[in-house]
Symmetry: none
Subunit: 250 residues, 2 copies
């Protein structure tokens, strides 16, 4: 897998946000963390605690005095910002940025994303270092993202862009366990035999649609072989108990 | 805009995570926050501070004693989990789940997502309340997400899905017909009462897992209200015929 984008935190104010950002990075396979002019005491216990196992990303962080130095080795830079900075730049969403990053990776290009201080965001002098602005589409009435959550969304889209995602709607248990239609048919016949006997299907002109509806709901459940056995057991027990009780009362 | 999914935090342990989750919700236009058995002191200053302007989502949270009560009015429920719970369920990614939610919204269906406690995650008895599992594709070597960050990714994909692209999945039947979890619970109790009486569940130490597995297979079927009535009728007829026959033979 590609090393992905460098995550560049410009003048971060809260050291626990550095730890939480590192965690969000490692969740998505990213490890290149860069800090521009962090506070002298940034490497605190709170930062390590917030990293929650992603310590190596925090401890491996590279420190720079200026944004220009932090991006010096990169070919392509995005700047995260929610506000219009009166600067003419193309704007990506995290998803379109991730697609572009994937293209750059194939070309062996190095790239990174700038994130501003918690309260103020990136300044124009930082943003001018970037080729492109990336803005997360969010509720226009409440769009302020926590720094680490902004890092998470950029890193997440990068990881998803590499795919493959989990197969859509795959089962949490081997789908090979799913019953054959023959086993299902066997249960349907067992159930319908008993429903005929007990009179549930006694109205002849309604029987076909009732049978179809009953079969349909079980078809939809993707039953496993074991579950079909369980359903056989349920019907069998309800019925044999009925017979046992019948005999018991004679 | 649609109200989107209810966000249901099951037994949350840290009140600041409730606040951070509320912030992530409002960032993405969500406001229906539900808490199952939170700690008595959950509504703390830390929760409000972490909400950082999303106070109204925290203050509007609905409190429930059980997961079943929290989902009673919903037609469709997802459970977030990273682990295979040995339960056969379809699995969505946040993106495929969001596409399905958009589809349900168009049909006026109510839905929600369950999130487990920080350390332990959801228990099987919570997950069985859900139709579908949702798992975030992440770095397999480091996939543990902070609770609020998991909420953010689900809410973010929901918000992004409301773009122009068409929903990816369609139910062949109007999902508005899908039974509420309350109706489903009524059938489960009816069925289990009869299975207790007829002895199918007589082995005490196997009963909980058998009940869970039976409930799970019906949960997965996305039963309509009419189909739940049909199942009530099936059980009722099998049982009353048994009694009628019992009487008939005295």
């Amino acid at each position: 897998m590609s090393s992905g984008p460098a995550i560049i935190l410009v003048r971060p104010q809260l050291s626990e946000n550095i730890g939480t950002a590192a965690r969000a990075m490692l969740n998505n396979g990213l490890t290149d963390l860069r800090l521009v002019a962090p506070k002298p005491d940034w490497l605190s216990d709170r930062a390590i605690a917030a990293a929650s196992g992603a310590d190596r990303v925090v401890l491996g962080a590279k420190i720079f005095d200026t944004t220009a130095e932090a991006v010096a080795d990169l070919n392509r830079v995005w700047a995260t910002t929610a506000r219009n900075r009166f600067m003419v730049k193309p704007v990506d969403t995290p998803r379109t940025a991730a697609a572009a990053m994937l293209d750059l990776t194939a070309q062996g290009v190095k790239f990174g994303v700038l994130f501003g201080p918690e309260r103020t965001g990136l300044e124009n002098d930082d943003i001018v270092q970037a080729d492109t602005v990336v803005t997360v589409p969010l509720n226009p009435d409440y769009s302020s993202l926590n720094l680490a959550q902004c890092v998470l969304l950029i890193a997440y889209e990068w990881y998803q862009a590499q795919g493959p995602e989990l197969p859509e709607r795959h089962m949490t248990k081997g789908a090979a366990d799913i019953a054959t239609k023959e086993k299902l048919e066997g249960f349907f016949q067992h159930l319908e035999r008993e429903l005929d006997e007990c009179g549930f299907l006694r109205i002849a002109d309604k029987r076909p649609v009732m049978v179809r509806n009953i079969r349909n709901l079980f078809q939809r459940a993707h039953l496993t072989g074991q579950e079909v056995q369980t359903l056989h057991g349920i019907v069998h027990e309800l019925v044999t108990y009925r017979h046992r009780k019948g005999q018991g009362t004679t």
